[in-house]
């Protein structure tokens, strides 16, 4: 078990992205599986547009949007995006780009609240329709709001759910007493006396039942 090799960020991707945004808007980060970079939240849309539309990049496949909660670290949340370029399989008419994968991460602090008084990030739904439900899922489970999202509602949990289940400060298994149960309001002696009285009454009723006619129910009752 050796320390895995770190994958460097593609210099070409970095250069092309930096044509449109300031150089400090995208900052490569170490990762073992695919090139990874942190992107400043306000430049995310511009970066994604370049990634999707630039003929040398063509990251037209939005693989995944998710988030991670690093409570109690600051900034607390990271929204994680995976992209892929499919090369010949899905190319612009002018020609194909090299197939490759990419992970971008956006740091989302929990002290800078946006709409709905929640931590926020920009929505990618205008660029990829696939982002619609993926962002709703992140909103539902992490409580990160996406500005510019057309239909930001809960998706997996019921609409009236309170709290955001995948946050680290959300309790794992809330055990509550069932509402229908309440402790017995009698002492043991009173309970036993009640049982005896009920049994005696039913025994007496059974004895009289054979020789007494059953009283008819009248309208006055």
């Amino acid at each position: 078990m050796e320390t895995p090799v770190q994958i460097p960020f593609d210099a070409q991707v970095l250069d092309l992205v930096r044509e449109k945004v300031p150089a400090d808007a995208i900052e490569p980060a170490p990762a073992v599986d695919m090139p990874t970079a942190y992107v400043a939240r306000e430049h995310m849309l511009a970066v994604c547009e370049t990634l999707r539309d630039h003929p040398a990049l063509q990251f037209s496949f939005l693989v995944e949007i998710t988030a991670a909660d690093y409570h109690p670290a600051t900034p607390r949340f990271e929204v994680v995006y995976h992209f892929a370029c499919l090369g010949e399989a899905f190319a612009q008419p002018a020609g194909a780009a090299v197939p490759r994968r990419l992970r971008l991460k956006v740091r989302v602090p929990d002290n800078d609240l946006g709409e709905q008084s929640l931590p926020w990030a920009h929505s990618l739904t205008p660029l990829w329709p696939a982002a619609n439900w993926l962002e709703r899922e992140v909103f539902d489970l992490f409580g990160v709001a996406f500005t510019g999202h057309p239909d930001l509602r809960r998706i997996l949990t019921p609409d009236d759910w309170t709290g955001y289940p995948l946050r680290k400060d959300y309790p794992v298994q809330v055990r509550k007493d069932a509402a229908s149960w309440s402790p017995m309001q009698l002492t043991v002696e009173e309970f036993a006396a009640n049982v005896r009285a009920t049994r005696a009454a039913s025994a007496a009723a059974a004895r009289t039942r054979v020789d007494e006619p059953v009283p008819m129910r009248t309208d006055k009752d």
């Binding site: 078990m1 073992v32 990874t36 037209s60 496949f61 939005l62 619609n132 899922e137 997996l156």
Partner: protein
Amino acid sequence: MGPQHPSTHGVLRLVLELDGETIVGAEPTIGFLHTGIEKTAEQKKWQQVIPLVERMDYLGAQSNSLSFCLSAEKLLGLEMPDRVTYIRVLIAELQRLNSHLVWLATHAMEIGAISVMMYAFREREQLLNLNEMIAGFRLFPSYIRIGGLREDLPRDYKKAVKELLDKMPAAIDNYELMLTKNQVWTKRTKGVAVLSKEMTLALGLVGPMARAVGINYDVRRMWPYLKYDTFDFVVPTRTAGDVFARYQVKVEEMRQSVRICQQALERISPTGVYDCGDYRVVPPPKDRVYTEMEALIQHFLIYSQGFTVLKGEAYVPVEGARGEHGFYIVSDGGNRPVRVKSRAPSFLACQALPHMIKGGLIADVIAAIGSTDVVMGDVDR
């Protein structure tokens, strides 16, 4: 429509807006099966997560555990011996066959070809018997572990697989005989629920859905894992992008899976290793546990405290039965994951449903749902 409708694959609810029989708008409602597996996984030790993730996509159980293990092994920096890799290929392809058989059976039954279901489930039963041989559990074997496999293949397993594989091509011909040129089938499926190439990828649909519209993308080809680049197989594609094209792609995939299984079977040596041999992660063999103190201690440590995974994050995609499938995992260097996230192809297929059925008829909704092959356990997790 739903969530108790027999043709909505479990518990999918579709709110349909209708103009007579024509669909004007549709809104899928999901979450009836949400069990918080990702939250639960954060409380479990790494190897305890495997049975949990297998229950996400319950028709492709071992594709879940495979992708989770590959991601964890990426973080750990573990290399698998060839024999383990080939056994995993065999398991993964049998799982794909299994999942496609259930899809074909239920899809055909929903459209009205009930006899296909009987035949497809006959073969699927034998695949479940194979699972029973390796693990004693038919649906969720938890056979693939981080660092290798749970144990070696049982005696006569390869013989049983071979018997099944020899039968499969004729069986698939038989399904096709019942459907491909069947006029009822073609009229219900051709030109139904069409998605354009651009829309398919914009909605994040890959796998059989994308290959049916001409996007020749298969993770096994483009980013080979498990040495898939050394296997000889064809990635079938069609261009029509309707329900019939998806059916053709999947049936052809079943044939290719049989071919890959046969090649893997030849490469698996009768005896040999079944894990990577790194005893920090995999428990030592039982005979050593019973005779050596150190092995016993290590065995106890792994099962009581678990093992730690290096700090970092990983996402290794595999080609599941429903498309690209993978786990994004984050570790803080401890013995429990910080975050486990499944990239669920069914979730995105569900999102695409309204785009496919708008303008069609109510009867075509059933064909559309069937062709996307959604598994609600994968959607709601």
